[in-house]
Subunit: 329 residues, 2 copies
Amino acid sequence: MKASDVRCVALSGGIGGAKLAVGLSKVLAPGELLVVANTGDDFEHLGLNVCPDIDTLTYTLAGINDPETGWGRAGETWNFMAALEAIGGETWFRLGDGDLALHVERTRRLASGESLEAITADVARQLGVEHRIVPMSDDRVRTIVETADGDLAFQEYFVRQGCGPRVSGFRFDGAVAARPSPALLDALARPALEAVVICPSNPFISIDPIVALPALREALGACHAPVVAISPIVGGAALKGPTAKIMGELGLPVTAAAVAGHYGALLDGFLVDATDVTDASNEPAIEVAPAHVVMDSLEDRVRLAAEALDFARRLARQTAPVKRRGRLI
Amino acid sequence: MKASDVRCVALSGGIGGAKLAVGLSKVLAPGELLVVANTGDDFEHLGLNVCPDIDTLTYTLAGINDPETGWGRAGETWNFMAALEAIGGETWFRLGDGDLALHVERTRRLASGESLEAITADVARQLGVEHRIVPMSDDRVRTIVETADGDLAFQEYFVRQGCGPRVSGFRFDGAVAARPSPALLDALARPALEAVVICPSNPFISIDPIVALPALREALGACHAPVVAISPIVGGAALKGPTAKIMGELGLPVTAAAVAGHYGALLDGFLVDATDVTDASNEPAIEVAPAHVVMDSLEDRVRLAAEALDFARRLARQTAPVKRRGRLI
């Protein structure tokens, strides 16, 4: 498969995004899907380069993820953490024994000069993942959470403090200078592309770091294929994680409509739960459609993936490309 | 306990030395023993700083070593290695899940500017080791094995190639410039010191890297306390490891006498198995005495440790310090 055959680009954070990525991987051939991972929550921990969203996508698409937690590996053991604790090391971020191999090997390969994209592709291949996962950029981008307690590195906020501090905003250090993945820019520019799917990830901490890259935002604006998001809010509550808490702290109503408003001109279409259709339809430039956005089973994931692709194809037929190119912001 | 209270300095490699170190730790109070670890076989692997002899000493003195292998931790698990293999990483050097914590944490702390000696001391303390273990130097020394196949980094020779290549010599890169542990130099200069014990480790790869440090060799020559070695050769065979193979390749007879000849002016006394006494006594400047040098049980270790200390005390009484200072080379 050539890069020119990519039919769907999916922008994804970790757990929620990975569920949809699995669905997309079941309805698209390996060369037809490019999953783009947020790297804003990457960090250096214990001297290791940890990339939580890349790894969640990789493990999930490889079918070796922990189905209970959503992150990490199934059947994981924790002897490293126990031994680390015994010698006084930091244990607030849990690294499983098997998971650790990926961080150690990635850190070694990065230090030897390999790119994050090349390492990510090779690791996925070794684990039997046939579809492509690319980090949004090989350049360093770091999500900083602006809170009532001051600025916090993302994992400090998210894991160590359990999303406790009240959020006033986010910024993405390094995003302005970061160059998007060339494979991603190439896919966005090709005529074969049918859809850009924004997974039902947290808009503020999973998707915003991706679309904060100026060259990527520009490429999305210029892209002929419709951009379709799936709501992470259903009936006034978040599907998972701190999305609802963050929206409240940012002064936003916890609604699908507020998510649509947040994405704004980026979107052509928005898939929401049937109960949220009326509510979300007050964004006149965005086409809203109902879907089963809750993904409890593999069947749910596959169905939602197919619905997202069908929705994008429908939008492509009914909307002139010139209108969509107008979303360039 | 103050540094001035050190009564015994023990120079040690890994497994064999650690057995005697345990014995010494049972007959000496914590402040009375300073165990000096060879760092010539330290190396960087997978981007981690691995110090095999320090770690074997630490785990053994902490009582958490694997009694089967002699190295690593009891009850170790290997999920890291399995996961590393699955993503194509190097697996010829086995790092257990629990063991890995030490390498990761040490690497992080070294990168943050802490000294190897400080990290080693702190880790040992956290693991409940009461006696002191010091690396021979905080400076980098690397044993290079000169073989018929060319120069090999130590672990390449020792682990990866299983000591297969024929050895023509050893050198210790960095040794000439390396500064010995200040605690070690201090202990050697104090009147309280009663013995320097060279453990029954491999002379060529465990002890030579230590005594290759010029300032340490000078301090040993000037030290008032007797230097006593324990033979790693019993009845023409090595207690363990590749010592016999190496001696043969270097053109030496596999005898305790050849070990004494190799150490030469460094030694005041040499403890050998009873069957080796006559053989070893052809080094006129070295006092030879019989001992039970095979350490199968904890009782053996304690008895040999006590014998080594008694031997040193006897030598101190019967030999004028001025004679021993003549060993300065």
